[in-house]
């Protein structure tokens, strides 16, 4: 106990010593725990954070659990022992992170959830959610589908990994949009491709075999939408099936421009990174911040692609 207190004091002394050096420029130390760094969206978030950190003198450590909820918890605990000022978590599993973020709160560390939120119980231990919500992205895609199909037709979904926040919410958002707009759209298949472009190709191939008529397919991210598009092209059914994704990847925006894809919900990921650093700075200064800070989701379709192209990543 006393050893622990001693070490806490030592670290605090060291922190003050280092604080005095760059005078006022010292920003918060931020520990960012991704869900999986190997994704263009995360690259854009990280770039937004790094760029904005330069303006606020923030120091960021990036950690990548590669979709492993157990590793993510260990990394959050690692951030606690590093005594970061702010821990930012993009939850792999909304419930699995709760004990770790509780611990962080008890240690006096601010927790910000980014892009994938925790459970309602977990939210009590967090300061804010920053991101584009996967439900809203699904909803945006749902509205695009309703418009493209004139409110009626058969739709298949190629999903991310079963049970993950983004997977569950993107489908739910799409279905809510169908319901709210009073469309009579039949959901014929919901099959997982685990965020893999190659698996999406295989799964879509089987969905095409099973269903002679498909009006639209929703890939839970753009790489999977493009994988599904490959399968559709291989069977020469591109005139029949309209392809939708989420992200706003450069490849997807190019495919929308050339008429191969029909739409994507563009996440302004760079902004999410920027907002995160600003919120972390404010928290560290003892300021109050909004509980929910949303980066906009932009529907990119053949009509709007010219307007949004520069934001695609």
């Amino acid at each position: 106990m006393s050893m622990k207190q001693l070490s806490v004091r030592l670290v605090l002394c060291a922190a003050f010593a280092s604080l005095s050096a760059p005078a006022f420029a010292q920003g918060p130390t931020i520990c960012m725990v991704h869900n999986n760094a190997d994704h263009p969206s995360i690259t854009a978030v990280a770039k937004g954070m790094t760029d904005e950190a330069a303006n606020f003198g923030a120091e960021i450590t990036f950690l990548d659990p590669a979709f492993d909820p157990v590793k993510q918890v260990a990394m959050i605990e690692d951030c606690i022992s590093r005594k970061a000022n702010v821990i930012v978590v993009n939850a792999v599993d909304p419930a699995a992170v709760v004990p770790a973020i509780t611990k962080a709160k008890e240690a006096g560390i601010y927790v910000i959830m980014q892009n994938a939120d925790t459970t309602p119980e977990g939210k009590a231990f967090t300061e804010a959610f920053i991101g584009s919500q996967s439900f809203d992205q699904g909803y945006a895609v749902g509205l695009m589908i309703v418009k493209a199909l004139n409110g009626t037709g058969k739709v298949a979904v190629v999903t991310g990994k079963t049970g993950q926040t983004d997977t569950v919410n993107r489908t739910a958002g799409m279905e809510a949009a169908f319901k709210d707009s009073g469309a009579t759209i039949e959901l014929i298949a919901v099959q997982p491709a685990d965020w893999s472009k190659d698996k999406a190709l295989t799964v879509m191939q089987d969905i095409l075999t099973r269903f002679p008529q498909i009006d639209a397919v929703f890939g839970h991210d753009d790489p999977m939408a493009l994988g599904a598009l490959e399968a559709i092209k291989a069977q020469g059914r591109e005139a029949e099936v309209k392809v939708f994704g989420v992200n706003g990847n450069k490849e997807a925006c190019a495919a929308i421009k050339s008429g191969e894809m029909y739409g994507t919900a563009l996440q302004l990921s760079y902004l999410v990174g920027v907002y995160t650093v600003r919120a972390a700075y404010d928290l560290n200064q003892g300021r109050l911040i909004s509980k929910t800070i949303l980066a906009p989701t932009a529907p990119v379709t053949p009509d709007t692609v010219a307007q949004w192209e520069s934001q695609c990543w």
Binding site: I188, Q191, S196, K197, Q205, D206, R210, E230
Partner: protein
């Protein structure tokens, strides 16, 4: 001693008998032995019959060709894994190598190298990882599972740094022929490559000295009566082969989807082992072959295909896959004990 060496040879081609002939010759076979030896074939028959009743598109030529195209990539990885399993070792780094090789190939293209040179770079990355795996395992005697798991992490991180975590797209249009091209307009090149490799490897395993040394090194290297050096070289070749075939898979996958990410091969490390063991290659070395792996891979492919055709909810799909995995491992252990 002699029985172990003669085990791989002298058997009919497609159906290697895993039980040494000298042992089983004098004893009456248990009635369930053929059942246990050909689990994958039986499972395939059951799946095909069930599938043909449950789905009217399942047995169409197009669907069958689709299944083969879908599994050919995992199949090529599983062939390498099979050879390594015969030496009683396995390679968890294939997942990382699939990603790395695709990325190296695409990066070479982006930097102005030609089609063949870029493919050579990709394959070369696999050879290097294989040499690393082999050297680490053989020099230290450490557990191959853990060593290659560690190497996998390094390879994955290397691939992430090379791409800065971005998706990279191939720049040479002809490159897509490898993954998408079809012979006679219906049979994908990757399927032909998979079957051809399986045949060549099966022949090499049973008819060459190197191949037979692979079986011996898996069964009992000391009793093999061979010089230590030759055993070491044999095992090294198995590691290099496994990693190179994973690299080939990564290159074909990139060609099929025109772009790649570091995580492209995730899951293939386990799936390739499941396919090999399902086919009848033992986790404990010395028993099995690459033709059997074709059956193992096709069973997995048919299962995945049926899960989608029957619109099985994704949560239930995990149960099916988990059960198959457990059944395969338990059956292999039971076979070993008998």
């Amino acid at each position: 001693m002699k029985t172990q060496e003669s085990e791989p040879s002298g058997q009919t081609h497609g159906h290697p008998n895993p039980v040494p002939p000298a042992k089983s010759g004098g004893r009456k076979r248990h009635w369930s032995e053929p059942l246990r030896n050909h689990t994958a074939v039986l499972l395939l028959i059951v799946l095909v019959i069930a599938g043909s009743f449950l789905s009217d598109v399942f047995l169409t030529p197009r669907n069958i060709l689709n299944i083969l195209w879908a599994v050919s990539l995992l199949g090529i990885v599983a062939l390498g894994q099979t050879v390594l399993l015969l030496t009683a070792r396995f390679d968890m780094s294939v997942a990382g190598v699939v990603g790395l090789a695709g990325i190296v190939t695409v990066l070479a293209q982006i930097n102005g190298f030609g089609l063949y040179a870029s493919i050579a770079f990709g394959l070369g990355s696999g050879v290097l990882v294989g040499l690393c795996n082999g050297a680490l395992v053989l020099a230290t005697g450490a557990n191959p599972f853990l060593v290659t798991l560690g190497v996998n992490l390094l390879v994955y991180s290397l691939a992430l740094s090379l791409t800065e975590s971005k998706t990279l797209s191939a720049t040479i249009p002809e490159f897509t022929v490898l993954g998408r091209g079809q012979l006679f307009g219906f049979l994908h090149y990757s399927v032909i490559l998979f079957i051809a490799l399986a045949l060549i490897l099966e022949f090499a395993l049973r008819r060459t000295i190197l191949g037979r040394t692979i079986y011996v090194s898996g069964l009992n290297e000391v009793a093999g009566g061979l010089s230590g050096l030759r055993i070491q070289i044999t095992k090294m070749s198995a590691f290099v082969l496994c990693s190179t075939l994973a690299a080939l898979t990564g290159i074909i996958m990139t060609s099929r989807t025109t772009s790649t990410v570091a995580s492209a091969g995730f899951g293939m490390e386990f799936d390739s082992i499941i396919a090999a063991v399902l086919g009848g290659t033992s986790l404990f070395g010395g028993r099995g072959g690459t033709l059997r792996t074709i059956v193992g891979v096709v069973v997995l492919g048919v299962m995945n295909n049926l899960l989608v055709l029957l619109n099985v909810p994704s949560e239930a799909q995990q149960i099916a896959k988990g059960l198959v995995f457990l059944a395969v491992v338990l059956a292999d252990s039971a076979l070993r004990r008998s």
